[in-house]
């Protein structure tokens, strides 16, 4: 069962930035891009480098190691060398708070 957990405040993550979180066994990145908040698993599908060490460019999440790019909304790969999409997590914003759905 997935439960929404408050993870951060809107003010913590300005537009075009990202932030990594680790809650229990869950490691994920929250991205503020294209006006919305999105969350993906904190691991590049290419060589498992943490995406939280990367950056946002043109609304895309860019891995610092080899330049792989992902669309934060769908997790789809938008530039190689990654070939597999990154898993996304459900995000809910209520007022000032950002919630992410985490499986037990």
């Amino acid at each position: 069962m997935a439960e929404y957990v408050k993870v951060a405040s809107v003010a913590d993550i300005p537009e075009s930035t990202l932030k990594g979180f680790e809650i229990g066994p869950h490691r994920f990145v929250i991205v503020h891009a294209a006006g919305g908040f999105y969350a993906v698993v904190d691991e590049c599908t290419h060589e498992s480098v943490p995406l939280s060490e990367g950056e946002i460019s043109d609304g895309q999440l860019v891995c610092r190691a080899h330049g792989a790019r992902f669309d934060p909304k769908s997790g789809a790969v938008t530039a190689p060398p990654a070939v597999v999409p990154v898993e996304t997590l459900e995000v809910k914003v209520e007022g000032d708070s950002i919630y992410v759905a985490l499986e037990d």
Binding site: G20, G24, P25, P50, S52
Partner: protein, 437 residues
């Protein structure tokens, strides 16, 4: 994720640094310096690729008091085994601080030394000093330097030449509650033509209710002198609140045998490194490992068989069974030095993956610098055979039962390799763990 965290350094005022005679204190300080000046291992190196080293760094607790009357239920069972003659001795270790030994003050124990390391460095300095830090030290790594500097109390076992210790000596290591940090250390010297069987059990570790983790950074050094026969069973069954790190190194000399059986069941984050160096003609090392993972357990295990001398033989069989979202990374290295002629080395790693969400990595490595070698390794990864489940289901056996039967079948060949007198005991450990699977 080590970004943003200030890196931990061992302060000069750490109480452990002041423990022991001068020669020991000097060594501790030098290890402290080494730890403080070495950067964290880089994640890129595959030894640390799957696990963040920062997760094992924790400040030693200020609390130096013993754990009081806390007793593991297992201790009672083992005391009973001792009383009924199934053990040669029992040693309990609470949090790497409080060491108590039972059953070793009888006449039969004469010459055999089993005592807290803190006492041994004073009373048996001539036996300890040549060996302590000989195999696990700052050169092994940053984490090893940490144990070397900060171990509070450890266990020392010395078996004199030609002495055969028939029954096993059982070590019960209990980790402390949430927030505790321990540095268990074990030093074993088995004399020429002597024999020893050791069972090293790691228990305890809080339940993980989010209030805190306990940490263990353990080091084991074993020296098997010429002609000796050592059997070392290590059982890791610590609770879900545990982050356990262990480095084991053994060196065996001419004609010596070593059997190592790592049983890896516990801790939420468990990184262990077992290595045997064959340092004399005719030395032989066997390792049979079994790992069972459930829930969100994360295991990272390494084995090393280093042939530093010709005409040596080694064999590793490491089996992994994973369920739920457990993860296992296994790196096994066989290294044959340039001058080590006519060696035989074998390694096998089989992984059984029982559910989607499990993740297994296996990296069997070979570094062979001498042509006169017979060496092979194999690895397999896969699920339980669906046809077998179907067959058992058609005989009225539930899926869970069927899986448990097939897992037992998977590990059975390993259990067959275990020496007779240890088999029942190890099978008992395994069955107990399988019940949770």
């Amino acid at each position: 994720m080590s970004t943003g965290k200030t890196e931990y350094t061992i302060p000069d005022a750490a109480p452990a640094l002041e423990q022991g005679p001068l020669w020991l204190r000097q060594k501790r300080r030098s290890l402290q310096e080494s730890f403080n000046s070495t950067p964290l291992p880089r994640r890129g190196l595959h030894l640390w690729r799957y696990t963040d080293p920062a997760k094992f760094l924790a400040k030693p607790s200020e609390d130096d008091t013993p754990f009081g009357d806390h007793h593991d239920a297992v201790e009672e069972i083992e005391l009973e085994h001792l009383r009924s003659g199934h053990l040669a001795g029992l040693v309990t270790d609470l949090g790497g601080r409080q060491i108590k030994s039972y059953g070793l003050d009888q006449p039969a124990s004469q010459g055999l030394v089993v005592m807290p390391l803190s006492k041994a460095v004073e009373q048996h300095h001539d036996l300890v000093e040549p060996y302590l830090y000989g195999l696990v030290n700052s050169q092994t790594g940053k984490m090893e330097a940490m144990n070397g500097a900060l171990w509070n109390d450890g266990i020392f076992i010395f078996v004199p030449d030609n002495r055969v210790v028939e029954k096993p000596i059982h070590l019960l290591r209990e980790a402390g509650p949430a927030g505790s940090v321990q540095y268990p250390r074990l030093l074993v010297v088995v004399g020429r033509n002597a024999e020893l069987t050791l069972i090293d059990e790691y228990g305890g570790g809080s339940s993980n209710d989010g209030t805190g983790l306990s940490y263990a950074n353990a080091a084991v050094e074993m020296f098997g002198l010429a002609g000796s026969r050592t059997r070392y069973v290590t059982l890791q069954r610590q609770g879900p609140g545990m982050r356990a790190y262990l480095t084991h190194r053994a060196r065996i000399e001419r004609g010596a045998n070593m059997l190592t059986i790592p049983l890896v069941f516990g801790a939420t984050l468990c990184k262990q490194n077992f290595g045997v160096i064959m340092n004399g003609q005719g030395a032989e090392s066997k390792m049979y490992g079994l790992l069972f993972g459930t829930g969100h357990q994360h295991f990272d295990n390494h084995t090393l068989h280093h042939h530093a001398h010709g005409q040596t033989v080694s064999n590793i069989d490491f089996k992994v069974v994973l369920r739920d979202r457990a993860q296992s990374a296994y790196t096994g290295l066989i290294r044959i030095d340039r001058h080590a002629r006519v060696c035989e080395a074998y390694q096998e790693n089989r992984n059984l993956l029982l559910s989607p969400g499990t993740r297994a990595e296996t990296i069997p490595e070979l570094e062979i610098l001498n042509e006169d070698v017979s060496c092979s390794h194999g690895a397999t990864l896969g699920p339980v055979d669906p046809d077998s489940i179907f067959y058992l289901a058609s005989r009225g056996i539930s899926r869970d039962q069927a899986v448990r039967m097939l897992v037992s079948g998977f590990v059975a060949p390993t259990l067959k390799l275990v020496p007779d007198d240890l088999r029942d005991r190890i099978t008992a450990f395994v069955l107990r763990r399988l019940e949770d699977m």
